[in-house]
């Protein structure tokens, strides 16, 4: 008499377990929940979709560009959707994989673009750009590098050049009676101990975002060994990370962590919430290595910090005895828009029209300059002087134009698989969880993957 209920209970308990597991599995396969908002790739004639990053300073300018285009072209319509930086990176991949991607795919070029190309998900724009040579000629030639895969161009460079800049809080430096760093030795032996003694964190860092930590490695490796070491990694040469300069650079980073060079709790701070930048403009940290876009964020969120001249900036200082050219810089040589190969011909035409008209018009250039960015459009430096931020913009323009090498960010240049291992190991390195040698070994394992 008791038998039947036993097996039922067994079954039900199994069902609970399987249900939980299915919940997980479903979460795996239903990534782009709001992907339907993009409604495929614009089915109606003349309709196209566009996904990009949310937040200031970019979002309002992107929105304005689309509004301008929609107003000027009543028969076609672009629908934008905006996502947070880190969320976007995953969302765009999954939705493209599921065939639910937007007509226009916003990106950083490099390794990510390469995976789209290999899967035949994006349009080859080489022919179209050759036909429209005048358009191609308007854009910085160096910006096309990260848009090129196997000698073909798969993305249109847009928006701004964004080198990584060493920002500092002038008021904090003044109060402490210190000068911005002249060299790596100056940072380690002079500034870090003195700021720590004064109760101010030497460097702000949004360590949970991981790519923020990566910028330190990029600059330090470039300053000590030049750009050749990473070029070898990029080319897929076996054991390219085993260069002694890499070990030296990693040791330097860990020594800086051990010397409390970074703000307390840096590994739980995210860059997406702009908390790292808040630490700089509130004077809790003296310096911060960040992308040039941070200028616009500090301007819009930091009260009158930027306006009152509180923000200072410089290129990363040289390292004693290093081989790298101190004019070199790293960062984003541009942002990129690709056209989905799955879009309808009408949607593709709308996208191309958007590229060749609105994205290179004067309002677009002025919008980016006003936000504290330097457009990828040639000759835009002539317009920089009129901006209230002329000083910073000229610095960015000169840094980008004079850099012997403008290297692309590592996580963007590498494939997503290698980039994830890179970011994971960088986080552990900053946590002092692994040694430099372990870092090199795990990174050698994913070269060329």
């Amino acid at each position: 008499m008791e038998r039947m209920p036993i097996s039922r209970r067994n079954f039900l308990n199994l069902a609970i377990g399987a249900g939980a597991a299915a919940g997980l599995a479903a979460c795996g396969s239903s990534g782009p929940g709001s992907g339907s908002g993009g409604s495929g790739s614009g089915n109606a004639a003349g309709a196209a979709t566009y996904w990009s990053l949310s937040g200031p300073p970019g979002e309002p300018i992107r929105k304005a560009a689309i509004d301008r285009f929609n107003a000027a072209n009543p028969d076609s319509k672009i629908t934008p959707t905006f996502f947070q930086n880190d969320a976007y990176k995953q969302k765009i991949k999954t939705s493209i994989g599921a065939g639910e991607g937007p007509t226009m795919i916003w990106g950083w070029g490099g390794g990510g673009l390469k995976t789209y190309v290999e899967a035949n998900q994006v349009e080859d724009l080489t022919g179209w750009l050759n036909e429209n040579a005048a358009l191609k000629d308007k854009i910085f030639p160096s910006s096309f590098g990260a848009a090129t895969v196997n000698d073909k161009i798969y993305a249109m460079p847009i928006e701004t050049v964004q080198p990584i800049v060493l920002f500092y809080n002038k008021q904090v430096f003044e109060k402490a009676g210190l000068q911005p760093p002249q060299s790596w030795g100056d940072i380690v032996d002079n500034l870090v101990p003195k700021f720590n003694a004064a109760g101010i964190a030497p460097f702000s860092l949004g360590g949970q975002s991981r790519w923020t930590n990566m910028m330190w490695l990029e600059f330090l490796l470039d300053r000590t060994a030049g750009s050749e070491v990473f070029d070898k990694v990029f080319a897929g040469e076996a054991n390219a990370w085993s260069d002694p300069a890499v070990l030296d650079m990693l040791t330097k980073v860990q020594n800086l962590v051990k010397a409390n060079g970074f703000i307390k709790g840096f590994s739980s701070i995210t860059a997406d919430s702009n908390a790292d930048q808040a630490l700089l403009y509130t004077g809790r940290a003296a310096m911060m290595l960040h992308g040039s876009w941070s200028y616009g964020i500090q301007q819009s969120e930091g009260g009158d910090f930027v306006k009152s001249g509180g923000l200072g900036w410089m290129n990363f200082p040289p390292v004693e005895g290093g081989k790298g050219d101190p004019s070199n810089t790293v960062g984003n040589p541009g942002q990129y828009l690709s056209i989905s190969s799955k879009a309808t011909p009408e949607a593709k035409e709308v996208a191309k029209k958007f590229f060749s008209t609105t994205l290179v018009d004067d309002a677009e250039i002025d919008g980016w300059i006003k936000s504290g960015g330097v457009p990828i459009i040639k000759g835009s430096d002539a317009k920089l002087g009129a901006s209230p931020d002329a000083e910073f913009l000229k610095f960015v323009y000169d840094t980008s134009a004079n850099a012997k090498v403008f290297a692309q960010s590592w996580d963007q240049a590498l494939s997503p698989t290698a980039a994830e291992t890179l970011l994971d190991n960088i986080a552990k390195l900053f946590q002092l969880q692994i040694t430099p040698q372990q870092w090199v070994d795990s990174m050698n394992g994913v070269i060329g993957k």
Binding site: M1, E2, M4, P5, I6, R8, R9, N10, N13, L14, A15, I16, G17, A18, G19, A20, A21, A22, G23, L24, A25, A26, C27, G28, S29, G31, K89, Q90, K93, T94, I96, G97, T115, Y116, E118, A119, Q121, G207, Q208, I263, K264, G265, F266, S267, S268, T270, A275, A278, L279, R284, S415, P416, T417, A419, E420, D424, A427, K428, Q431, Q433
Partner: protein, 308 residues
Amino acid sequence: MTTLAPPVAQVKESAGQAGGRSGAVAWMALPALLMFVAFGVVPLLGVLALSFTTWDGIGDIQPSGLTSWRATLSDPGLPHALWVTFLVMALSWVAQTPLSILIGVFLAAHKRYRGFLAVLYFIPLLLSSAAISITYKALLDPNFGLGAGLGIPLLAQDWLGRGNLALGVVVFVVSWQFIPFHSLIYQGAVRQIPTSMYEAAQIDGAGRVRQFLSITLPQLKYTIITSSTLMVVGSLTFFDLIFVLTAGGPGDATRVLALSMYQQGFQANLMGPASAIAVILVLVGLALALLLNRIGGGSSSQSQLEGA
């Protein structure tokens, strides 16, 4: 995505009834079964199939035999993730069970002010995990959080920046969120215990503590097992909370299996190994559910009310 299965309802079926009746009952289970097959079994089989392939999530799916399994099983991150998952599971069980029982017993008494308290206790359950995580993350921020704001050095720890502390915070937040749910289960179960048992105990001169230990706890045995099953199996699915709170960090200190699956699949574009981890998760979940059922003892329909 958190699966909160309702407590198992038992349908008493007497052996003597006609076949037609039980046929009708089986038919009523059909809609649920269809849903379960469509959203549970089918994706599960899909994941199992994917674990024997190589796929970057964008291009074509390439069958590759055991490559993904080999990569997953030889990854030193797997034992670590299993260990972290186990720690979160065990610690959150240890933290939640005694507190839930005590609160449940306390709230079971029919008194007005306790009814009011019950509503208050219930509030955390109404909030979404993501909202809870964002709030705690802001409160625990070492530079702008509660400790720094109130000037209390004890609270100004690097809560989410140190491995052990971060794990502790995860367990605390999980407990904070789910204790109300389990208290509710216990409250209901305690109310089911016949008052005649307590009356008899009182006549025999048993005090409150004795009554709790000798009547309430033994009577709650099956509720404890149900609640533990929900806790243990549910803790395998903690993803949203940990992802927002620590993103698995610092380093990999709070990287549970579900997070490492997400990281492999959606950040590193390695859907094969990610599916292998998902299969491991399913197996662990099934094994735990069965194990807990065994611990509960064989015949579950044995009367708990003997002598009542």
